[in-house]
C-alpha cells in the first residue's frame, strides 16, 4: 500500500519540477522577466519543493565553481613526425571519393545491363543518304561509325550540314559513282560492348578495394 503512494508522490514532484525547474534556472541566471520573476517569488514563498530545489542548485554551483582546475600532466603539442603522419596525403583525400565513384559505376553497369545495352542487337541495315549532286548538302544523319563488318562497303561520317565538295565527296563516297550513297552498317558490335562491360566491372571492383583499403580510420583509434 505504501509503495504506490510513494511512487505517486514522486511522480507528482517530478511533474511539478518539469513545470518549475526551467523558471528556477532562469531565476538563478537572472534572466527572468519582471512579471515572471514576481510570479516565481510569490510561488517560492508557498512551495517547499521549489525553494529547496533553488537552494540545492545554488549550493551545487558554488561547490562546482570551487573545484580546482587540473594541471595537464604533459604537453600535448604535436611533433613534426606526428604531423607528417597525420597530414592527409592526396591518396587519403581521394579515398573519400573512391567509394562514391565505385557506387556510381556499379549503378551505371546495372542500368546498362537492365536496358539491354550489353546484349548484342540483331543486324539492321540502314540506307541513309542518297543524292545525285556531289556539291549538295548531305542530310544530317548523325554519326555512323562503320567498322570492318562483312556488310560494310565504306565509311561515311556526316556531322550536321556539311557542304560536300567534289573532293570530299570523292574521298567519302564510292569513287566510281556520282551518286553518294552511304550505307549504314549494322549496329551490331557485341565484342566492343562486352569490353566496356568488363571494364566497368573491373573499375568498380578496383575503386571498391581502394576505398576499403585506404578508408579513413575511425576517430579515437588513431595511435601515433
Amino acid at each position: 500500500m505504501n509503495k504506490p503512494r510513494l511512487i505517486k508522490e514522486w511522480d507528482e514532484t517530478e511533474a511539478h519540477r518539469d513545470q518549475w525547474l526551467p523558471l528556477l534556472l532562469d531565476f538563478q541566471d537572472g534572466t527572468l522577466g519582471a512579471s515572471e520573476r514576481a510570479n516565481l517569488e510569490k510561488h517560492l514563498k508557498e512551495c517547499g519543493i521549489c525553494q529547496s530545489d533553488l537552494d540545492g542548485m545554488r549550493q551545487t554551483v558554488t561547490l562546482l565553481h570551487r573545484l580546482p582546475e587540473q594541471t595537464v600532466p604533459r604537453s600535448f603539442a604535436i611533433s613534426p613526425l606526428q604531423a607528417r603522419r597525420l597530414k592527409p596525403s592526396p591518396i587519403y583525400r581521394f579515398s573519400e571519393f573512391a567509394a562514391a565513384i565505385a557506387a556510381a559505376l556499379l549503378i551505371f553497369a546495372f542500368a546498362f545491363d537492365l536496358a539491354g545495352t550489353f546484349t548484342p542487337a540483331p543486324p539492321v541495315k540502314q540506307a541513309v543518304v542518297t543524292t545525285a549532286d556531289p556539291t549538295a548538302t548531305l542530310e544530317p544523319v548523325g554519326t555512323l561509325a562503320i567498322s570492318g563488318d562483312n556488310n560494310t562497303t565504306g565509311a561515311v561520317q556526316a556531322l550536321g550540314n556539311v557542304p560536300v565538295t567534289p573532293q570530299t565527296a570523292q574521298a567519302t563516297a564510292t569513287p566510281t559513282s556520282a551518286t553518294a550513297t552511304a550505307l549504314a552498317a549494322t549496329q551490331s558490335s557485341g565484342p566492343d560492348l562486352r569490353v566496356i562491360e568488363i571494364a566497368l566491372v573491373i573499375a568498380t571492383v578496383l575503386f571498391t578495394v581502394f576505398a576499403v583499403v585506404s578508408r579513413p580510420r575511425a576517430p579515437g583509434r588513431l595511435k601515433i
Partner: protein
Amino acid sequence: MQEEPEDLVVAAAQSGDLAAFNQLVSNHEQRVYNLAYRMLNDAEAAADATQDAFFQAYRALSQYRGGSFKSWLLRIASNICYDRLRSRNRRPTTSLDEMIEEAEKVGGADLGLLEDHQSDPVDFATRRELARELAQALQSLPDEQRIVVILSDVQGMSYDEIVYITGASLGTVKSRISRGRLKIREYLNKSKELLPGDLRQ
C-alpha cells in the same frame, strides 16, 4: 580582444604552420584535459583522450570554418569522451571497487577544493572527503547530464557554447543542467556534515 589574434593563429595553422597549431594546443590543452578528466574520471584516459582530440583537430583543421575555436575543439573532445565511455560500457573491464578507487584518486587530486574564503582552517581530511564525494557525485550523473554540468558549472561556458559543443537544443541543455545540479545536491545531502559552513543548511 583575444579572439582576433587567435583567428590569425588558426589561419596560420590552417596554412600548414605547425608552430601555430601548437600555440593553439598550448592555449586550450588545459581546458580540453579538464573536460576529459571530469568526464572519464581517470587521469591516464583523460590524457589519452586529450592527445587524440588534438590529433583529430589537426587532421580536420581544413574543416574549421570560423566561430569559436575553443568550442570547436571541445566538441571534438566531447565526442571522443563519449566514444571512450561507450566502449568502456561495452567492455566493462573495471570493477565497481576500481571505479570507487579511481574516484577517490580524483578526489585526492582536488585537495585544493573549497578553500575557505573566510580563511577558516578547514580540516584536511574533511576537504579530501568532500572532494571525493563531489567527484563521485559528478560520476553518478548520466553522461549527457555530466557533460553539460561540467561545461556550465566547472568550466563556466555559456549556453550557446554548450549547445554547439553537445549538439543538443537549448531547452535540452538547460533541462540537463538543472536536473544534474539537483542530482548532485541529492547525492551530497547524504553527507551534509562534509559541506563547508557557508553551504550547510
